[in-house]
């Protein structure tokens, strides 16, 4: 009987992996019940199936600066092989993460970073430094490089959006898309009602407006909602950055042709594979280090300053692929 059982277990694990240690990984998202982080978890699980790995996902109820600390300490106590974390705070977790590294645990930050000395490598969803340029090109493609367009942003102090808008302006000032005219930048404060009002005001103020680009998930959904019930539906383009779940109905009813974000799951897949490579190949993350994962995203990466890994280019969503994504 025991022989049969032994035979079965070997067969199910596979002869090559039978002798290997199973890696224990804890992933700590910012909080739970957030489809965006669920997509990252999905990436981890997808990779873990192929690797010899168990992934546990635990998160606090609130996204406060210190709420993740008990979960990091529990992982240290459980002697896991690696901790991947989407940190709620760049500094407050540092002493605890350093303690984990001293205990020999691999520490990676995913979709957000801590101070560089508090983790071994960091995975970021896309290259934010060229996102401003991307937003201009994204709009240009949809309106044939010609006409009036406007930005509907988050708050006027949002650091991410402001950096992208500045990048877009620099790209335009450098002579890109000379036949397009950025007529306004308005702020919906990431509130649905305010964003909708601002979108309506743009349509009223600029009769020749060809496109609204909203580089914020709240803004793009509000603008699409306004357009979907307006006679201008199909005449004015709405694009920018949004999530497939929020935008699906507007893509299906033809209000929105295409929009973008990144694929959060890719970060999970990269993290899981990188952990195994750091363990088996003794990979030491540092600037300039190259590594590759067959069949995942772009396939190979070169680490940037402070071992920063850019997961991949922005992901475009349209009617042909939107149903493959759920976040």
């Amino acid at each position: 009987m025991s022989l049969i059982l032994a035979g079965l277990s070997v067969a199910s694990v596979g002869p090559a992996n039978a002798a290997k240690k199973k890696y224990k990984v804890t992933y700590i998202p910012k909080n739970l019940g957030n489809p965006y982080f669920d997509a990252i978890v999905g990436g981890f699980n997808k990779a873990a199936k192929k690797l010899n790995m168990t992934v546990k996902v635990v998160a606090p109820a609130q996204a406060g600066a210190t709420d993740q600390i008990p979960f990091i300490e529990a992982a240290i106590q459980q002697k896991v092989d690696a901790i991947a974390i989407s940190p709620n705070d760049a500094d407050a977790l540092c002493p605890t993460l350093k303690r984990a590294m001293r205990a020999g645990i691999v520490v990676l930050s995913v979709n957000g970073d801590t101070t560089a000395s508090c983790r071994q490598a960091s995975i970021t969803p896309t290259d934010f430094s060229v996102l401003g340029q991307y937003l201009v090109d994204q709009t240009a493609k949809l309106i044939g490089d010609k006409g009036d367009w406007a930005f509907l942003s988050a708050t006027s102090t949002a650091p991410d959006q402001n950096a992208w808008l500045a990048g877009a302006q620099k790209y335009i000032d450098g002579g890109a898309k000379p036949n397009m005219k950025l007529v306004a930048t308005v702020y919906g404060d990431d509130q649905p009602e305010k964003s909708a009002t601002e979108a309506q005001a743009l349509l009223a103020r600029f009769p020749n407006l060809k496109a609204i680009n909203a580089p914020t998930t709240v803004g793009i959904a509000a603008a699409a909602q306004v357009l979907s019930t307006s006679p201008l539906k199909g005449k004015v383009v709405v694009t920018g950055l949004g999530t497939p779940n929020q935008m699906r109905q507007y893509v299906k009813d033809g209000t929105v042709k295409s929009f973008s974000l990144w694929d959060p799951g890719l970060q999970g897949e990269i993290a899981a594979n990188l952990i195994v490579q750091m363990k088996t190949k003794k990979l030491k993350p540092k600037q300039g280090l190259k590594f590759s994962i067959t069949g995942v995203g772009p396939g190979s990466w070169t680490m940037g300053k402070d071992a920063l890994i850019i997961a991949g280019p922005p992901q475009e969503f349209d009617a042909s692929n939107i149903d493959k994504f759920n976040f």
């Binding site: 804890t26 909080n31 739970l32 546990k56 635990v58 998160a59 606090p60 109820a61 609130q62 406060g64 600066a65 210190t66 709420d67 600390i69 008990p70 979960f71 300490e73 529990a74 240290i76 106590q77 459980q78 002697k79 705070d89 760049a90 500094d91 407050a92 540092c94 002493p95 303690r99 101070t115």
Partner: protein, 340 residues
């Protein structure tokens, strides 16, 4: 007769049964659920995260026994931490920054007490207002910035050991034990504690017996502020950085500890031993859940449920006993009437 006396002497104080039961059950649950739970070094080290809550709860025990409440403790902590961070960023030596934080806490606590007493307003409303006010002050001071880069000698107070070796004895736990003993003697031995209890049970009669009720209440608020200031220094050392949302929500955890420890939320009754055991109980519950990878929402829910049960079960039991006694008396009266 003597045996009855003996059992009475060894009987567990009733306010401790609830939290002690929770503590024991949580320890068993944790040990059964995870092989990593009963690791003395980890258990002792992990207390470090709860010490600020524990200290706030000790001070709040006095405030609540007085029949008052201080909802602003976590905001006082944040404002004190902000003052400390601002001074440090301006180049002040860390020792002075720490003293300034403690002093800020004391002053903000005094302000709470003075508003409550001078204007005769309910402390619930006053400290609800200062909860927002002091947090707002913190945000004005720090904005979105982070103050980090505190000196190595200051950071990591919680990882320092008073007694080295295995499992070791970390500094925060030592602070908490010393504080508990001091608070215990104040409440039990000094007149101050008696005044607290009297004030809480009947403020007006205490006042008319020539006791200065207001100074008792004021000093409890000041103490609560002072302790919040001390906690600001401890949390800054533990995290090695300051941001404006530091300690957000700690007041509710601290009040939970006090109430779980058997202190009457309406005042007049409460003990330091209850607060200490309740802190241990909450620590055990949280640690036994987190080591089994149970998420934050469930942990919060479990604590809430335990709090309700701890408050409810004794009430239900006494209601049943009352009811039974009433029936018994009724039956006796009936039989007496029947005998006539």
């Amino acid at each position: 007769m003597t045996s009855a006396k003996k059992t009475r002497r060894f009987a567990l104080p009733s306010h401790l049964t609830g939290p002690l039961l929770i503590l024991i059950i949580a320890m068993i649950y944790g040990s059964l659920g995870s092989e990593y739970f009963l690791d003395p070094a980890s258990i002792i080290f992990n207390t470090g995260r709860y010490i600020e809550i524990g200290l706030l709860a000790l001070a709040l025990t006095f405030v609540i026994i007085n029949g008052d409440i201080d909802l602003s403790v976590a905001s006082i902590l944040a404002a004190s931490a902000a003052v400390m961070a601002k001074l440090f960023a301006a180049g002040t030596p860390i020792l002075w920054c720490a003293l300034a934080a403690v002093f800020t806490g004391f002053i903000l606590g005094m302000i709470n007490g003075l508003i409550v007493i001078k204007f005769g307003l309910p402390s619930l409303v006053v400290t609800l207002a200062t909860l927002a006010l002091y947090r707002g002050l913190t945000q004005v001071l720090l904005e979105d910035s982070v103050v980090a880069d505190y000196p190595e000698s200051f950071v990591g107070f919680d990882q320092r050991l008073v007694i080295g070796g295995y499992p070791g004895f970390p500094a925060p736990l030592a602070v908490f034990i010393v504080a508990s003993i001091i608070f215990y003697f104040i409440l039990r031995k000094a007149n101050y504690g008696l005044l607290n209890v009297m004030t809480g049970s009947n403020a007006s009669s205490t006042k008319f017996s020539g006791i200065n009720v207001n100074s008792v209440r004021l000093s409890a608020f000041a103490l609560s502020g002072l302790v919040s200031g001390i906690c600001a220094v401890m949390i800054t050392s533990r995290l090695g950085s300051t941001i404006s949302n530091v300690g957000l929500g700690l007041e509710l955890l601290a009040i939970t500890v006090v109430v779980l420890g058997g202190t009457d939320i309406f005042g007049g009754r409460g003990t330091i031993s209850g607060t200490v055991v309740a802190l241990l109980a909450i620590m055990a519950v949280r640690e036994s859940l987190v080591i089994q990878d149970i998420n934050g929402q469930v942990q919060d829910g479990a604590i809430g449920l335990l709090l309700i049960l701890t408050v409810l079960v004794p009430r239900i039991r006494s209601a049943i006993v009352d009811n039974r006694n009433r029936k018994k008396r009724f039956n006796e009266a009936q039989s007496q009437i029947a005998n006539h």
